[in-house]
């Protein structure tokens, strides 16, 4: 048994309440201020270092993005987008990774009890020893974050450094960020700080600056300050209104009670039909036909 936290809000594929006695914890959040990020990738390095990940070095694909995508051993990557706004070239750099949704699609989709848990502080964490490698979390995620490792067929993603946070430290990426573009604290404090940043950006001509904390997934525990909050798509396709796919909601929602009723009805019908009507024998009529 691993060290217990007993502050587990939700646990995948578990119909009953997981241990929650120590839930009195403030919701945390990581705030990524895209407007002060310089794209140095120190956060990527810090992530790999703290989490002891050694992804393949890979190749330059012609742009700054390297690694070119998230992987089971690269839990955060910088996404670089060039766009023209107000007649000026803008180079938008977004640190991509798990958003730690309040309503996590991965957890909703996961069929394995306890393979994904959500702590009271809002962190969504994969418990790899319970992962069966089905990839349902990938279909549940509205942000395209989980990746299955080909070495062990387990899904991996950012843990928000749950190990560090649980002992009162900030995530490794936050600790290392040289410009202070990544901050960490209670979600409330981070929203307050974000508002200051948004106000300042507005005075600098970014009229649509704003906080990205999408309510379609109940809000997230990784938030962005965007200069163009009205067009999150500019930031390497960040979704404007991310939601768990309605197809996944159908599959993990109404289909279950419906099929339970259907299966139970067919079994009960068979049982009571037999009790009521009895076996259907042909031999009774055979008597007359006997030669």
């Amino acid at each position: 048994m691993s060290l217990q936290s007993q502050d587990i809000l939700r646990r995948s594929a578990s119909p009953t309440q997981p241990p929650i006695a120590r839930e009195h914890k403030a919701e945390v959040a990581k705030l990524i201020d895209v407007s002060t990020c310089i794209g140095c990738k120190a956060c990527q390095v810090a992530c790999s270092e703290w989490n002891d990940l050694r992804d393949e070095v890979g190749n330059n694909v012609g742009v700054y993005d390297n690694p070119a995508d998230l992987s089971a051993e690269s839990w955060t990557v910088m996404r670089y987008s060039e766009t023209e706004q107000n007649g000026k070239l803008e180079w938008l750099i977004r640190k991509d990774g798990c958003m730690h949704c309040a309503d996590p699609g991965c957890l909703k989709a996961c069929p394995s009890p306890g393979a994904i848990i959500q702590y009271a502080n809002g962190i969504v964490d994969f418990q790899s020893e319970h992962c069966i490698g089905c990839g349902y979390c990938i279909s549940g995620c509205p942000f395209n974050v989980p990746r299955i490792n080909q070495k062990d067929n387990k899904a991996y993603k950012c843990t928000l450094c749950s190990d560090r946070v649980s002992v009162g430290q900030e995530p490794a990426c936050v600790k290392t960020c040289p410009t202070g573009a990544i901050r960490f604290g209670s979600k409330e404090d981070m929203k307050e700080y974000a508002q200051e940043r948004v106000d300042e950006l507005k005075t600098r001509g970014y009229a649509n600056a704003g906080l990205y904390d999408p309510q379609g997934v109940g809000g997230t525990h990784v938030m962005y300050v965007l200069h163009h909050a009205d067009q999150p798509e500019l930031y390497h396709g960040l979704k404007k209104d991310p939601q768990i796919s309605p197809v996944v909601s159908l599959w993990k929602g109404i289909l279950k009670p419906l099929s339970t009723i259907g299966l139970a009805a067919s079994l009960l019908f068979g049982f009571f039909h037999y009790i009521g009507v009895g076996p259907n024998k042909a031999e009774d009529e055979e008597e007359e036909d006997k030669v």
Binding site: I132, C134, S139, N153, V247, W251, N280
Partner: protein, 209 residues
């Protein structure tokens, strides 16, 4: 009992074929329900461990599809609907009380319906199953398609399971039926009562009852 008069209904190859498909179905239904219902996750134990169940389930699925594929081509021409089947289906209440209706051939309206239902489900299951199959094939498909495939896979599996419940119950309820798929034979009385047209075809009996 005196000497029974028996008619051959399924030869050994057909019976072996059926039971391969049936065993595959049981394993797949058990492990599939485990993936679908959190409270039944322990049923993954049918393959040893949850991870093994995730690995083995699709391979058994392919085996079941191949087995059923063979069955489909054995039986499809016996399962085309005709007027008598409509009559049977419209009088299903009477049939359920134990009184047969219509001049039924090798299969009655209900069995034919079940045949096409199973065929449809198997087709959906194999197609969607390949799309969601990790780690081998899912990477080749867009995520939106995978989501729809996951939903359809679960839905068609549940329809198939409910169908098989009916299929198995009908075999238990209509006495003498299981013998057809175990020993391969049925009694004359069974054939005359449940499949009169088929009875006349195989015995050469010209008299309509």
């Amino acid at each position: 009992m005196s000497k029974e008069k028996l008619i051959s209904r399924y030869n050994a190859a057909e019976r072996i074929n059926h039971w391969i498909v049936a065993v595959c179905f049981m394993l797949l239904a058990i492990s599939g329900l485990a993936f679908f219902y959190p409270a039944f996750f322990w049923l993954t134990g049918v393959f040893g461990t949850p991870q093994l169940a995730r690995i083995i389930h699709p391979f058994v699925g392919v085996l079941m599809f191949l087995g059923f594929f063979r069955q489909f081509f054995r039986y499809w021409h016996h399962n085309l609907f005709n007027k008598e089947d409509i009559k049977w289906m419209l009088s299903v209440k009477q049939v359920l009380s134990g009184h047969e209706v219509g001049d039924t051939g090798k299969y009655n309206g209900g069995q034919k319906g079940m045949f096409w239902l199973m065929s449809g489900c198997l087709l959906v299951l194999i197609c969607t199953g390949v799309i969601i199959w990790r780690p081998y094939f899912a990477y080749y498909f867009p995520i939106d398609l995978i989501r729809v495939a996951l939903l359809l896979h679960a839905w068609s599996a549940l329809v198939l399971i409910a169908g098989i419940v009916v299929h198995v119950y009908a075999a238990i309820w209509v006495r003498g039926t299981i013998r057809a798929m175990v020993e391969g034979v049925v009694t004359h009385a069974w054939a005359k009562k449940h499949h009169p047209r088929w009875y006349r075809e195989v015995t050469g009996d010209k008299n309509k009852p």
